[in-house]
């Protein structure tokens, strides 16, 4: 069984210094603490700067004695993150996990990975090839993806609702979808399109 007492404490502590770290972890629904949504800001001085990246977190039964499962929900162009599935190649999420680590420290490691790609141990071979052979194009693509998928527009909630309703989705569904993805219109659109 997941140690929910600990998860509760982790969430409180993490969100307490949100102002400093910019890292946030929220339960996807109040009923189930095993499914969480994390948010990390793209590190400054990287093509991910200004982006806000969502990460799906699933806690296995053995948590914290087994590592949490994490996966990018926001599309990202990075050698160690699958451009298709969002799967992350990071040792502390596998055999280097220690129960002394927390969701916050894990997300900080993911953020550090955005700053320091390791193309020699790639998750996405296509991206890694580009990173090694054609760095300028890699930078361009990564930036484009950040702008396209990770930048929350400055639109207010009502504007987003209006925009999506104009695209032909029913309003009630649009609102509930927007809430479930923390107001991210790109993710809401993706979710609505995938049915």
């Amino acid at each position: 069984m997941v140690d929910f007492a600990r998860v509760q404490k982790e969430l409180q502590e993490c969100n307490r210094d949100f102002e400093v770290s910019g890292i946030k972890v929220m339960p996807k629904s109040d009923a189930n603490l095993a499914h969480l949504l994390g948010t990390i800001p793209g590190p400054l001085g990287t093509p991910y700067e200004g982006g806000s990246f969502k990460i799906d977190i699933t806690l296995p039964d053995g948590y914290p004695f087994e590592p949490p499962k994490m996966q990018f929900a926001t599309k990202v162009w990075h050698p160690n993150i699958s451009s298709q599935s969002g799967a992350i190649c990071l040792d502390i999420l596998k055999d280097q996990w220690s129960p002394a680590l927390t969701l916050k420290t894990a997300l900080l490691s993911v953020q550090a990975l955005l700053s320091a790609p390791e193309p020699d141990d790639p998750q996405d071979a296509v991206v890694a090839q580009q990173y090694l052979r054609d760095y300028p194009t890699f930078m361009g693509t990564a930036r484009y993806w950040t702008e396209a998928f990770a930048m929350t527009s400055s639109l207010g909630v009502e504007d987003k609702v209006l925009k999506l309703v104009e695209m032909g989705f029913p309003e009630a569904l649009v609102r509930s979808t927007l809430v479930s993805v923390d107001g991210d219109e790109n993710m809401a659109l993706e979710k609505l399109c995938s049915g």
Binding site: D3, A5, R6, K9, E10, G62, P64, F65, E66, I92, S98, P99, A100, L101, T105
Partner: protein
């Protein structure tokens, strides 16, 4: 004379082999006899596993003055290779091997035992727990007992019993097995048992020199070899196997050659090839039809006649070179070339396979000789002959089995040695031809002498007059020496002239054992009280691995370079012939 077995070992052999051929033993042995070396491989039974492991643990504990669990962690890290551990220790020092294996050298002494009333915060569950409910690991990291327990349970279930690391991030330390055992057994006694079994079996599973016997159903034993993992052994349960690949014995084939060979023999593709070369489908009923004469008109059992060259249906009128009203324009030179190649490859395979098969069959036939020879000997013993020594018969029979075996496996060896699979780029056509002639000379000499030996042993010499028996005796003794010698020469040729000259060879051949496949001796239990003898033994021959045998048994060293037919008298006889007799017979023939 270090070649004789100790009393206890001998007891083991004689008691175990009593059933085989007591009647054959003769009192006066002016005959050639076989010298015996203590086996260099040991059987580790369920009962002796613990002591086998403890012996290595003890050596490391004494050498490095560490506790048992640290010795175990070090040994698991070095895959139970004590020699390697010692080498690294000598070269790089204690601190280095400790750090590498995740052992903390200095034990942290907690000077102030925590007061029972005070509480600490466990960094895992983030709860405040009483100071008595937490445990310090050797590395100094401290967490609450229930967190430790959860951690251990997860790791044991993941199969990581052998290396459970501390819970702290980036701490490489291996948890104290005593703490693991204590905490886990409080919550999950059966899991604690599993943990202990994993630790115990690590000695077999992580150890390059120890392997489970591949018998099915499993006999429960493991075999430990001393020096060379490329060897053939026999388990207490009677199964003979190649230690390296765990399949049946196959020397002088390398493991890879043997794997390919058995696959090839199994493969139907050979048969399919044969079919394409030798048969063609009937154009009417599509049954494969074999060509059995010179002319190209063939007919199917359904009555349809057709042309062998193009497969087209024809009438029956034909001459040697021509079928009436039929001329085939579709004949292609290409397809003939392909067929020729396939045919050549097939013939080559068949050449080697037939001989391999013939010798394997003879081997099976000859294993029945065991019984008839036994009979002949007792018949001879019953006569009033001057002859009292019949060990030449049993020795000859043993020699026959061993050389027959080497001979049959030499054919798949040759198939690959001189084929295109492995060494095509390493030898020129010319070199290959020379080597092949060299080898085939050896092989053929061996073959003809093995056949002669077989023939003499099959004769009903128990019905012959004494003079004739004497003659056969001379022949058998001679041929026994010669075939042994020829086997050795064939192996020398393989090692030196064939494989030895090649640059990239991955083919390790289990050495020829004049005395037959080594029968692993049971590991003595109870050695562990003799710490003294362990040291003595270490000093004496430097082969510390040999120490598991009682110290009065000399360790054996690989193949003997002395002839089996040494003129030395053996110190004690009695169990030799019986233990030797079926040495080369696989269990299924016994």
């Amino acid at each position: 004379m270090e070649d004789y077995m100790s009393g206890s070992e001998e007891d083991y052999y004689s008691s175990d082999r009593e059933d085989s051929l007591d009647g054959l033993e003769n009192d006066e042995s002016d005959s050639k006899f076989v010298q015996y070396k203590a086996p260099s491989c040991k059987v580790i039974t369920k009962e002796s596993l613990l002591s086998a492991q403890r012996e290595d643990l003890r050596r490391v504990m004494e050498l490095l003055s560490v506790r048992e669990q640290h010795a175990r962690t070090l040994l698991i890290h070095y895959r139970w290779d004590v020699e390697k551990l010692i080498a690294v220790y000598v070269e790089k020092g204690k601190a280095c091997i400790f750090a590498g294996a995740g052992v903390t050298a200095v034990e942290i002494v907690n000077l102030d035992p925590p007061e029972a009333s005070s509480t600490v915060t466990c960094n895992i569950c983030m709860e405040d727990v009483s100071a008595t409910g937490v445990t310090n690991m050797d590395c100094g990291h401290c967490f609450c007992n229930s967190c430790w327990t959860e951690h251990f349970i997860v790791k044991i279930n993941e199969g990581q019993s052998k290396r459970i690391r501390c819970m702290a991030h980036k701490c490489n330390d291996i948890c104290d097995e005593a703490i693991v055992r204590k905490l886990v057994s409080e919550k999950h006694p059966d899991l604690a048992e599993k943990f202990d079994r994993f630790l115990l079996e690590s000695y077999i599973e992580d150890n390059k020199m120890v392997k489970w016997c591949p018998s099915i159903p499993h006999c429960g034993n493991a075999i430990r070899v001393e020096n060379d993992e490329f060897c053939e052994v026999e388990c207490l349960c009677g199964l003979q196997f190649c230690f390296s690949c765990l399949s049946e014995t196959h020397s002088p084939c390398s493991c890879l050659m043997w794997e390919l060979w058995t696959k090839k023999c199994r493969d139907e593709s050979e048969t399919v090839n044969w079919m394409t070369v030798h048969t063609k489908p009937c154009p009417k009923c599509h049954k494969p039809v074999e060509k059995n004469g010179g002319c190209n008109l063939v007919s199917c059992i359904c009555g349809q006649a057709f042309c062998w060259l193009c497969g087209g249906a024809t009438g029956r009128n034909h001459t040697w070179s021509n079928i009436t009203n039929h001329s085939c324009g579709r004949y292609k030179e290409d397809s003939e070339k392909m067929a020729k190649r396939a045919k050549r490859d097939l013939y080559r395979y068949m050449h080697y396979h037939n001989r391999y098969k013939a010798h394997t069959d003879s081997f099976k036939q000859e294993s029945r000789l065991r019984e008839t020879v036994k009979e002949k000997v007792s018949n001879l013993e019953a006569t009033d002959s001057k002859l009292r020594d019949f060990s030449w018969i049993t020795n000859g029979l043993c020699r026959l089995f061993r050389s027959r075996r080497a001979l049959s496996y030499s054919y798949p060896f040759a198939f690959y040695m001189f084929g295109d699979d492995f060494f095509k780029d390493e030898m020129t056509e010319k070199e290959r031809e020379i080597k092949q002639h060299l080898f085939e000379d050896q092989q053929q000499q061996l073959e003809s002498n093995v056949e002669k030996l077989s023939k003499f042993l099959e004769e009903p010499f128990d019905e012959y007059p004494e003079e004739q028996v004497m003659q056969i005796r001379m022949q058998v003794i001679n041929l026994t020496v010669i075939t042994d010698d020829l086997c050795k020469k064939m192996y020398e040729c393989i090692e030196n002239d064939l494989l030895g000259s090649l640059q990239f060879t991955i083919h390790n051949i289990a050495p020829y054992q004049s005395k037959g496949i080594e029968r692993a001796a049971e590991l003595a239990i109870g050695w562990s009280t003799q710490a003294g003898s362990i040291k003595k033994c270490q000093k004496a021959d430097g082969q510390a691995n040999g120490c598991i045998i009682e110290s009065d048994v000399p360790s054996a060293s690989g193949i003997s370079d002395e002839s089996e037919h040494s003129s030395r008298k053996r110190a004690r006889k009695g169990s030799f012939e019986s233990s030797l007799f079926d040495l080369n017979l696989p269990a299924k023939f016994n």
